[in-house]
């Protein structure tokens, strides 16, 4: 085991110990310990209805990420190819989307789409989209001019330059955007479900709070952490490693 791995695992143990200690000194309705949470998780997995709620949250997160990512890319490219739209897209649309509170969107979405998954997804996407827009825009602004000229010397086909030169130059930005959106999406989804949903993990948390059932809340948090960790470990990290490979001297 390398020193790095050793340190990493040691840290994990230390963290668990600290948690247990903290739980020891607080009542269960404030902070349950790791063991109670693990037991709760096991019970959770055995309950189909709860799994269904987990599925609902996953669906909301995934749909919103895909939707806002695709829309954000498309929107960011518009002013790149048609500079006329710059003010409209960034100064007006982007700035407004970027700052209008998520709960505001939830209200408007409820008006426009009714009370269902679509409006939850809409509200989350509205929050996520500006992040995609801002990140991709900075990517597009920082394209290597020399390479762009190289591309131009070989072809005037915009599609080809986009696919072979611009997109690869943007990959790090796209990737960072995806990672960012993934983090924000969870937070927003939970909040949206907590305050306005009738399905999903946020809704479960809401119910658990009414019952002073802190264990369930921690179990849900635990599941989210496990899920995000897996995504990080098996999806984002390998891609990151590939980007790093050709940047090294």
């Amino acid at each position: 085991m390398s020193r790095r791995a050793l340190a990493t695992h040691l840290f994990t143990l230390l963290f668990l110990a600290a948690w247990s200690l903290a739980a020891w000194f607080s009542p269960a309705y404030q902070m349950p310990g790791p063991w109670a949470v693990l037991q709760g998780a096991w019970k959770f997995l055995a309950t189909p209805n709860l799994l269904l709620q987990l599925g609902a949250s996953l669906y909301h997160v995934a749909a919103a990420i895909v939707l806002s990512f695709v829309l954000g890319c498309a929107l960011a490219l518009i002013p790149y190819y048609f500079p006329v739209a710059r003010i409209a897209v960034h100064r007006r649309f982007g700035a407004f989307l970027g700052s209008f509170p998520g709960v505001g969107w939830a209200l408007l979405a409820g008006m426009w789409f009714g009370i269902n998954s679509i409006s939850v997804i809409f509200a989350i996407s509205a929050v996520l989209l500006p992040f995609a827009l801002v990140n991709l825009n900075s990517g597009l602004n920082n394209l290597d001019a020399e390479l762009m000229e190289m591309g131009l010397s070989f072809t005037r086909s915009r599609a080809r330059t986009l696919r072979r030169v611009i997109l690869p130059l943007l990959y790090p930005y796209l990737f960072a955007t995806l990672r960012l959106m993934f983090g924000v999406a969870w937070k927003v989804t939970l909040a949206a479900e907590l305050f306005g949903g009738n399905s999903g993990l946020g809704y479960l948390i809401n119910l658990a709070r009414q019952d002073y059932d802190t264990v369930t809340i921690f179990v849900i948090i635990f599941f989210i952490i496990v899920f995000v960790y897996c995504a990080e470990r098996f999806f984002f990290k390998p891609i990151q490693a590939r980007f790093d490979a050709y940047a090294k001297i």
Partner: protein, 250 residues
């Protein structure tokens, strides 16, 4: 075939040319010489339509540069390889950009062939950050040759090569040119290189630049660098450089 007439270029408020005019005929090998910063690279960019001009006209095979792009290829002064592809894939990239979708295998073969032509058969898997300066330059040359253009613009393509590799590359380029009848515009600082390769040498002066010399070289190929005619030309070119210098320093 290729014509600049009274071209005017302004960059950052500075006039690079006020009235630059010259022509290149079909199948000609033209060498462009001139002091550093006089606008040689700029003139190549103008001919390929990569830089808008403030005045005058540029025609390529009776088309505007914006229409004639598919007949051209560049070897830029800095290699401009993309960091996320290795040497081989960088060469393939040029073909992908120019021709769109197509057989990957045959392109890799072609790229392989050109990379061994430039002496990099053993380094095809290396990413640009692992290549030496001269190796990067040679990948860029292979990339341009791979799209088989009618006109090639080369901007100091051999500047980072050692004499022996350089000699070999010169011979290769000369052969390609003789066998295919391509038109080549070649920027170099090496007067001997120009004398060996060129049908015609165009020497630019200081900014705002204009053509100082337009030398036709009639010596038969392969040329002997020691030949009397070439020696005379060399003396003349170096002379012009020097006088140019003198002007600049007064």
């Amino acid at each position: 075939m290729l014509e600049l007439r009274d071209v005017m270029v302004e960059l950052g408020g500075q006039q690079i040319y006020d009235h630059l005019s010259f022509q290149v005929s079909r199948g000609e090998f033209v060498c462009l010489l001139g002091p550093s910063g006089c606008g040689k690279s700029t003139s190549l960019r103008v001919m390929g339509g990569l830089l808008p001009i403030a005045g005058g006209s540029v025609r390529i095979m009776d088309q505007s540069p914006a229409d004639a792009w598919s007949k051209l290829a560049y070897v830029f002064q800095s290699p401009r390889l993309v960091s996320w592809r290795n040497a081989l894939e960088n060469v393939v990239l040029g073909m992908e950009l120019r021709f769109g979708a197509g057989s990957a295998a045959s392109r890799r073969d072609k790229a392989m062939e050109l990379l061994s032509l430039v002496g990099l058969a053993a380094d095809t898997h290396k990413y640009p950050s692992m290549l030496s300066g001269g190796e990067r330059q040679r990948v860029a040359i292979a990339r341009a040759l791979a799209v088989d253009p009618e006109i090639i613009f080369m901007d100091e393509p051999f500047s980072a090569l050692d004499p022996s590799t350089r000699r070999k590359m010169r011979t290769e380029i000369e052969q390609i040119w003789r066998h295919t009848g391509k038109t080549i515009v070649f920027v170099t600082h090496d007067v001997d290189e120009a004398l060996q390769l060129a049908d015609r040498i165009i020497l630019l002066g200081r900014k705002p630049s204009s053509v100082q010399e337009n030398l036709m070289l009639k010596a038969s190929r392969p040329r002997d660098p020691g030949a009397a005619e070439l020696a005379a030309h060399r003396a003349r070119l170096l002379d012009t450089y020097a006088s140019d210098e003198a002007v600049a320093e007064t």
